[in-house]
């Protein structure tokens, strides 16, 4: 049997998961949860590029998700753009902003980078909360219908709202994963991994450290922005919570929980952290307690993340 590369294996596993799990859904509600996992997985794939590949931390990526989400709410209303174009506009704005903010910020390291990105995220969420006339303030704002489901219906593909968003987000996640995996093998990806190992060493072998860091930051910002847009379009509603500090933390936690080094691990982490609150709805009071405990335990005992630890154990048994 020819050996699968990590790239095709990852894409295959994702595609099979997306296609097969709906057969086991007891009710239509699970399509919604699935779509949410895929959207979170997409945002977290961006974090994989920034944190897993390049070793840089961001505690403000929810800010970009907020920009993507509110672009879908505001651009159709004020600029008359189609929601799909609004999503592209949001991604473009996020990319430009990430470029402008990233240039000075990415000179910083470790905790300093953490606080700078955190400051950025908080500024975005503050603007969204306070500019009531434009954004509707903390109560949120309505987002127009994407309209793609209607088009598919005309073509004879009749999907329920839940099904449509499940498969649409699944496909976008696949696309995002494919891009991230290609990047991993590209010269830029190699440069990113090199600077993760040692910034000084990669500088001496001729890598433009500042430039590749900035590339990773911009790309991951676009991922977060598209994920924010998808959430907004699916819910047809958005609140500033999407840009909040806790959302930034969730993204990083998902990435590191599953294993920040791999795309599959990140999606796995996104799945667990998205399902956790759903499983705990009966015990809603304990949600924070359990989340905090999970964050600490995984980081202490499974430092490289859940999926790599599990895989290694399986492999170890096979030999």
């Amino acid at each position: 049997m020819p050996k699968l590369t990590v790239k095709s294996a990852t894409l295959l596993v994702l595609a099979v998961l997306i296609a097969v799990t709906p057969f086991f859904f007891p009710s239509g509600y699970y399509y919604r949860v699935g779509a949410l996992i895929f959207v979170n997985g997409l945002a977290v794939t961006g974090i994989v590029i920034l944190t897993g590949y390049a070793g840089q931390i961001s505690l403000g990526h929810a800010g970009f998700a907020g920009i993507g989400g509110y672009a879908c709410a505001l651009a159709p209303e004020y600029l008359g753009l189609h929601p799909a174009l609004a999503m592209v506009l949001g991604a473009a704005v996020s990319a430009v902003l990430a470029y402008l903010v990233g240039r000075p910020i990415l000179r910083l390291k470790g905790y300093y980078l953490a606080v700078a990105t955190l400051g950025f995220g908080i500024l975005v969420s503050m603007v969204l909360n306070n500019e009531r006339d434009l954004t509707g303030g903390p109560d949120g704002i309505a987002v127009p219908e994407l309209g793609l489901r209607g088009v598919l219906k005309d073509w004879g593909l009749n999907l329920s709202n839940g099904q449509f968003w499940y498969f649409f987000c699944g496909i976008v996640l696949l696309l995002g994963a494919w891009i991230a995996l290609n990047l991993y093998q590209s010269p830029t990806g190699r440069a990113l991994r090199a600077l993760h190992g040692s910034e000084v060493a990669s500088g001496t072998v001729g890598i433009d450290v500042a430039r590749v860091k900035l590339q990773a930051f911009v790309i991951s910002a676009v991922y977060a922005s598209v994920a924010g847009s998808l959430v907004a379009l699916q819910n047809k509603f958005i609140t500033p919570d999407v840009a909040g500090f806790m959302h930034s933390i969730e993204m990083v936690t998902m990435a590191v929980l599953g294993g920040a080094g791999s795309v599959l691990g990140a999606v796995f982490g996104a799945g667990i952290l998205t399902l956790l609150p759903q499983a705990l709805t009966v015990l809603a009071e304990y949600e924070q307690l359990v989340l905090g405990l999970v964050m600490m335990l995984v980081m202490i005992f499974l430092r490289e993340g859940l999926l790599p630890s599990i895989l290694r154990r399986l492999r170890g048994r096979g030999e």
């Binding site: 905790y111 606080v115 700078a116 950025f120 500024l123 936690t253 905090g292 405990l293």
Partner: protein, 290 residues
């Protein structure tokens, strides 16, 4: 002028709380190179436990003492159970562990106590004092005085006592400190107890003014962290100055520009400082060894 004085007073009051949180960050950072994002929860616990014990019938000073000791014990527990086992982990993991601790403590607080907003009486009454046309609450003087006393106390401890010097030695070079016979594990325990206790003290002093609830910690943590960064991470003088500066900037922005964006001002200043003086106001430029 009286208006400016009024903003100055309120800025110094919140600034003193931020300074105490920033000092807590600094102590743990120096001892262990960890930025403890759960620092704000110590402030919350200080306020909540005091309120709880006071409501249960303890006199206020005793309730405050219980809160400070209990929080210090929790700080030690966090070190032993969560941060200690992860020694040497990458910065990202440590950040997530301490944020996890913070989320956990919030969750625990809403179960053990409740989700209401609480307060207890100010220590020396509510009659405002007048200074040059502006007024100041007696409790504000307690908060500002508290921050200054803690700072001087820490300074004396670190420069004049053998134990304090042992802490400094450990933060300079852990291995070397061990080699000259310093019990570095005890130094870590002490640092976390001290830091958590100072956080709890900040909560005790500030609650009559700022009120407390299970979720106030994260705000204090961010501002305190910002203050510590602004001053230069790891520098106690910087932490004190940075905390007060953040408070003043907030109060002046709220007074003269916009109260909704007062917190934005603090973060804009931090971003500017980080861009132009990445080591903070009092930090020393350091080179990383490869």
């Amino acid at each position: 002028m009286s208006e400016f004085l009024q903003f100055l007073f309120s800025g110094l009051t919140v600034g003193a709380v931020y300074a105490l949180v920033a000092l807590g960050f600094t102590i743990i950072y120096n001892a262990s190179d960890v930025v403890n994002f759960a620092q704000g929860e110590f402030v919350m616990l200080g306020g909540m436990i005091t309120w709880f014990s006071h409501a249960a019938g303890l006199p206020l000073p005793l309730a405050a003492l219980v809160a400070i000791i209990a929080t210090a014990a929790l700080g030690v527990a966090i070190n032993k159970l969560a941060i200690g086992p992860a020694r040497g982990a990458p910065v990202v993991s440590l950040i997530i562990i301490t944020i996890g601790a913070s989320v956990f403590l919030q969750g625990a607080a809403q179960l053990v106590f409740d989700k209401q907003i609480h307060s207890f009486p100010a220590f020396s009454g509510d009659t405002p004092l007048r200074f040059g046309g502006a007024t100041i609450q007696p409790q504000s003087l307690w908060v500002i005085g508290g921050a200054l006393v803690v700072f001087v106390g820490l300074w004396l401890f670190f420069t004049r006592t053998l134990l304090g010097r042992a802490v400094l030695a450990t933060s300079n070079n852990r291995l070397a400190a061990q080699l000259v016979g310093i019990n570095t594990n005890f130094v870590m325990t002490l640092s976390f107890a001290l830091s958590a206790g100072i956080g709890a003290l900040a909560g005790v002093l500030a609650t009559p003014i700022t009120l407390t609830a299970y979720n106030v910690g994260i705000g204090f943590a961010l501002k305190g962290f910002a203050g510590a960064m602004l001053g230069g991470m790891g520098n106690p003088k910087g932490a004190l100055a940075g905390g007060f500066l953040i408070g003043l900037i907030e109060a002046l922005t709220a007074g003269y520009l916009s109260s909704t964006y007062k917190e934005a001002a603090a973060f804009v200043v931090i971003l500017l400082v980080l861009f132009f003086m990445p080591q903070g106001l009092f930090g020393r430029r350091s080179t990383e060894r490869v």
